[in-house]
């Protein structure tokens, strides 16, 4: 999350008011940086106009890699590199390989997905996420608008937020 310098932070008391406000602010052509809420709000993705996450697609390919890698490794090890007779079966016998393949598919899909999510969301251990208003972890809903990304003036946006139900509008500057 690249952090700009100057933000206007609208503070709301009610999730429904936030949703209405998001709608009116976006209709007025203002780009919203982020909305923070103490809990998940259903349908907020649609209001914010977020596209469907592509994480599942990535996950599918991680799984596919895991599946092929596991099968290849077991086939190569038990079939060619160091053939062993186990349980009187052929060197290369598919059924006993399936559980390991399955586990490895899940392992790579899950870990790959989590790591991708961390990278995409810029969640590294030393990350210092910008805190716009500490009350967003308690009982307030916060809408942050990057002034550098919007052409409208601070006053205009301020008025827009107040009109659409913000209980207060603060300015937040990061150095």
């Amino acid at each position: 999350m690249a952090v700009g310098k100057n933000y206007l932070v609208g503070v709301f008391e009610d999730p429904d008011v936030v949703l209405d406000s998001i709608k009116s602010v976006r209709e007025n052509g203002v780009k919203i940086h982020e909305v923070f809420s103490p809990h998940a709000i259903h349908g907020i993705d649609d209001y914010l106009g977020y596209k469907q996450s592509r994480l599942p697609i990535a996950s599918f390919f991680y799984g596919l890699i895991g599946c092929s890698l596991a099968l290849f490794t077991i086939y190569w090890m038990l079939g060619f590199d160091w053939p062993m007779i186990i349980g009187g079966k052929d060197f290369v016998s598919l059924p006993p390989f399936i559980p390991v393949t399955f586990e490895f598919t899940v392992l790579l899909a899950a870990h790959g997905m989590v790591l991708t999510f961390f990278i995409v969301s810029d969640l590294k251990p030393w990350a210092k996420p910008p805190v716009f208003d500490e009350r967003c972890t308690d009982d307030k809903y916060i809408m942050a608008i990057d002034l550098g990304e919007n052409k409208k003036s601070k006053e205009e946006i301020n008025k827009m937020l107040s009109d659409s139900g913000a209980s207060e509008v603060n300015e937040k500057n990061f150095k």
């Binding site: 469907q52 599942p56 599918f60 009187g88 059924p95 006993p96 399936i98």
Partner: protein, 440 residues
């Protein structure tokens, strides 16, 4: 809101379509029987070749009784095959009706709200249960000696050359009176539970809104689910596993349940989609369909998990009494292809096809998946029943398609005519409002 008065109209054109399905089924069945009779009378040499293989197998199984038993009854191949087909459809469609009731009760027990909008569909499906019970009894009495090897008296007679020690050991459970008691108990129990719940479901429609009925149904549902757990598992041993009476698999009850469950879910989804396409059920949105799709997707994998768990253990342990089940299916040209097709259309296809979010949310894709899964699991039952009864004479042809169409048409007729008797929406259901706002 006017949705509460929505009623399904079982139109003449819908009836006509179903009637055509049934008639087409009867015609296909007759063609199949005719072809079967014709091919048997022309094809003596081929049959001998197959018998040799069968004898090897029977010897491998450690029991000569089956071969000897062949001399005792002279049921014509086509009749035997007809019994087999009837039995497959009996079990499969009884399962679909039962899943209707199970789905309904599961929603009450888990206090689910998302499904309330289309709960009338599984409720209507369960109307098949009493009919299924009668059909099971009738077909059992007609074809019990052909379908179930263990029903022969001489197997338990120590003086008889066909005395079967293994089956005699199982006689405490697998005997005719107890078998019939179980069958009557299960179908009777399911039907009674169904009528008890159904009465309260529809009483809710005409009473003041409240949670009284919901609580009554919930209590009955909890008891039903306990009964369901035991009865489906034992039913699966009785009606499917006992066709191969020497063979056993401890997870077979689950396997049959998973097959019923996933095809039942697919049928619920299919009926929802067809109703939506005809302008009904506007309150069921893509969000509800998405959840149904997840159910189908998830239990497709569950089915595959059980299929594989059964296969892997039998393959690995390599005990002749157990492997005979798969050898029968894998060494015969009649079954080998279906064995792999079964895996493909019931696991590989839905797994890849229903993986994306969109395919579960769109009517067209869900419809394709539902139809294929229902057909696929019918095929799964075909593969469970046919080799045990028909040995190497089984096949998939006009007779199978014909009987399946007859049963499908009748099942849908019963479902839809019951659906049209009451309001399509459970308008006084306490969780209906929550269902309307379901969003994922």
């Amino acid at each position: 809101m006017t949705i509460s008065d929505e009623r399904f109209d079982f139109t003449a054109s819908a009836k006509k379509k179903l009637a055509i399905t049934i008639v087409a089924g009867i015609l296909l069945l007759l063609v199949g029987i005719y072809l079967n009779i014709a091919s048997v009378s022309h094809d003596g040499g081929h049959a001998t070749l197959q018998t040799t293989v069968t004898n090897d197998l029977v010897a491998f199984n450690g029991a000569n009784a089956e071969q000897a038993a062949g001399e005792h009854h002279e049921t014509a191949t086509w009749l035997k095959r007809l019994y087999t087909d009837l039995w497959i459809n009996n079990v499969f469609f009884a399962g679909l009706g039962l899943i209707g009731l199970f789905f309904l009760t599961l929603q009450y027990v888990t206090q689910s709200a998302w499904s309330t909008g289309f709960l009338r569909i599984p409720t209507a499906m369960a109307n098949w249960l009493p009919i299924a019970g009668v059909l099971m009894l009738v077909v059992f009495f007609l074809g019990k000696h052909d379908l179930f090897h263990w029903t022969h008296e001489y197997l338990y007679d120590k003086a008889s050359p066909e005395y079967d020690a293994l089956l005699d050991g199982k006689k405490g459970f697998l005997n005719l009176p107890f078998y019939l008691i179980r069958m009557v108990l299960f179908f009777g129990g399911w039907t009674l539970f169904f009528y008890y719940i159904k009465k309260r479901v529809f009483a809710e429609d005409i009473e003041e809104p409240g949670v009284k009925r919901w609580k009554q149904i919930r209590a009955a549902s909890a008891w039903f689910i306990i009964f369901f757990g035991y009865s489906t598992s034992i039913g699966a041993w009785d009606w499917v596993m006992s066709i191969d009476p020497h063979w056993f698999s401890t997870l077979f009850g689950w396997y049959v349940f998973s097959s019923w469950w996933v095809s039942g879910l697919a049928l619920i989804a299919l009926i929802v989609i067809i109703l939506k396409e005809n302008g009904y059920l506007s309150i069921v949105t893509e969000n509800h369909l998405h959840d149904l799709g997840k159910f189908v997707f998830g239990f497709t994998i569950f089915w595959a998990y059980l299929w594989f768990s059964q296969y892997l253990l039998i393959y690995y342990a390599n005990i002749p009494e157990e492997t005979v089940y798969y050898i029968q299916r894998l060494t015969s040209d009649n079954y080998r292809a279906v064995f792999f097709i079964n895996l493909f259309i019931n696991f590989v296809f839905p797994f890849l096809f229903l993986m994306t979010r969109d395919s579960k949310r769109k009517l067209a894709t869900m419809k394709i998946a539902a139809v294929i899964i229902i057909a696929g699991h019918w095929l799964d039952f075909w593969l469970m029943v046919t080799p045990g009864v028909m040995k190497y004479e089984g096949g998939f042809g006009f007779m199978e398609i014909g009987t399946a169409l007859i049963y499908l048409g009748t099942f849908l007729w019963v479902t839809l005519s019951n659906l049209s008797k009451h309001s399509l929406i459970a308008k006084n259901h306490p969780t209906l409002e929550e269902s309307l706002h379901h969003h994922i």
